[in-house]
């Protein structure tokens, strides 16, 4: 298995990359860490005429934390974010989910934005982006725009990105007082694709549970925390329209949503209470 022929450009600046995407149209693709794109090239599921390498653009290699939002540039590797000082204090959900992304051998190269661009339904980072209500920052020669995670992810490995657009960054809200977080993934082995993955955020509006690996895109819903939780989880499980595949049956996936989904929602509530106690001290 070898990729078909393509040209390669190592972009020096963001403008340089945008110009190449503009001229290349649908024939040009961005390559960042390559951990999803290179297998697609090797299996010839993707056949771009030009790859635009953005990993040497210094402006895209930054993670910024302005107190309210954490903005992760297109060239930030998953491992760089995972090992960032204080990540667990600034955004616990990212710190919980990152060790589950691929393997350590792929996180060393793969980027955060690349995983979101790839939009695999079982991937952890799109799930976290949906759970946190994150945004995707898109840039082209024509315009700059920001889309909510749920506007950006439109289907299984399909996104709202136009052909000439670069994901310049993604951003998520930093931790807020009175908020709790939980994450859990069910897979055969650590590092395998998720059969189902769950991320929950508990705040003053209630507990919001996001589910990955079941529907074509990660889906989130605010759930009641009283005795109505069971029925709400059951309705959510059916609405996700789970399918049978090699790894698990639809029925098993629905059951995971009911049981593990419920556990993760309650865990986020407990985390919220634990953090409230700490904040009060």
């Amino acid at each position: 298995m070898k990729p078909a022929r393509f040209a390669y450009l190592r972009a020096a600046t963001t403008e340089h990359a945008l110009e190449a995407l503009h001229q290349g149209g649908g024939e040009a693709r961005v390559i960042a860490g390559g951990q999803s794109l290179v297998p697609m090239l090797t299996m010839r599921l993707a056949r771009p005429a030009l790859l635009v390498d953005i990993m040497h653009v210094a402006a895209l290699s930054r993670t910024d934390d302005d107190g309210a939002r954490i903005t992760i540039g297109a060239a930030v590797r998953q491992r760089a974010l995972e090992t960032r000082d204080g990540l667990a204090q600034r955004q616990p959900l990212l710190a919980m989910a990152l060790p589950w992304v691929g393997h350590m051998q792929t996180r060393s190269r793969g980027t955060v934005c690349g995983s979101i661009a790839h939009a695999d339904p079982s991937a952890e980072l799109p799930l976290v982006l949906v759970a946190l209500g994150g945004q995707v920052h898109l840039l082209s020669r024509r315009r700059a725009r920001r889309l909510a995670a749920e506007e950006f992810l439109t289907g299984m490995m399909v996104t709202a990105r136009a052909e000439d657009e670069l994901i310049e960054a993604v951003s998520v809200p930093a931790i807020r007082p009175g908020t709790g977080y939980a994450f859990r993934e069910i897979s055969r082995r650590h590092g395998d694709f998720a059969i189902a993955a769950f991320a929950a955020v508990a705040d003053e509006r209630g507990v919001r549970l996001a589910v990955g690996g079941v529907a074509a895109i990660p889906m989130a819903r605010v759930l009641p925390t009283d005795q109505a939780l069971g029925d709400a989880l059951d309705a959510f499980a059916w609405d996700l329209d789970a399918r049978d595949d090699l790894h698990a049956s639809a029925r098993y996936r629905r059951e995971l949503v009911r049981r593990i989904g419920g556990d993760v929602a309650l865990e986020a509530l407990r985390d919220q209470q634990a953090r409230a106690v700490k904040e009060a001290v």
Binding site: A4, Y8, R10, A12, V38, M43, M104, Q105, S108
Partner: protein, 173 residues
């Protein structure tokens, strides 16, 4: 494009690629589509890196890129231009001496057919350097990025933990 920066490397043409391999500067020519493992093996003749699935699952081709374990099959040779690459050929301190980790693999039967071994060694070498105090859980998690069809993994875990201990003792001595 040249008015903005570097030129496009044309498809189907070979272009110079240069990086550091096990401490030595090496160079060769590669089409943009050439994967790093093919560049290592066929252009540079460094056949210690093995190739299994060629799509990032099996871990046989794992090398270290700029100090971190990574799949050579998920990296283009042209992406590696300017990087520091370490492969299994760089582990032994001398031609007649194995590294502590390699020696532990021999002692504890951490390999049988040896196909997956170069990749596993490169992952564990990085793990032991970064986390000298790592325990079984961390070793197993690192190994989850590799497939071995001979050993059942238990001897590999044993070898890794023995090597970690030996390296800690050397550090304290």
């Amino acid at each position: 494009m040249s008015r903005h920066g570097p030129a496009v490397l044309d498809a189907g043409q070979r272009h110079p690629v240069r990086f550091t391999l096990n401490g030595r500067t090496v160079s060769g020519e590669a089409e943009p589509r050439m994967l790093l493992h093919d560049f290592l093996r066929h252009v540079l003749g460094a056949t210690g890196t093995h190739v299994g699935c060629e799509h990032g699952i099996c871990g046989a081709c794992t090398v270290q890129i700029d100090g971190a374990p990574a799949r050579a099959c998920l990296t283009l040779a042209v992406q590696a231009d300017g990087a520091e690459i370490r492969t299994v050929e760089g582990l032994a301190p001398a031609a007649d001496r194995l590294s502590v980790l390699q020696e532990a693999f021999r002692t504890h039967h951490g390999l049988q057919c040896g196909f997956c071994t170069p990749g596993i060694l490169m992952t564990l070498d990085a793990l032991l350097r970064e986390r000298p105090d790592c325990g079984e859980a961390e070793v197993r998690e690192a190994l989850s990025g590799h497939l071995c069809r001979c050993t059942g993994y238990a001897p590999i875990v044993k070898a890794a933990l023995a090597a970690a201990e030996a390296l800690r003792e050397t550090d304290h001595a």
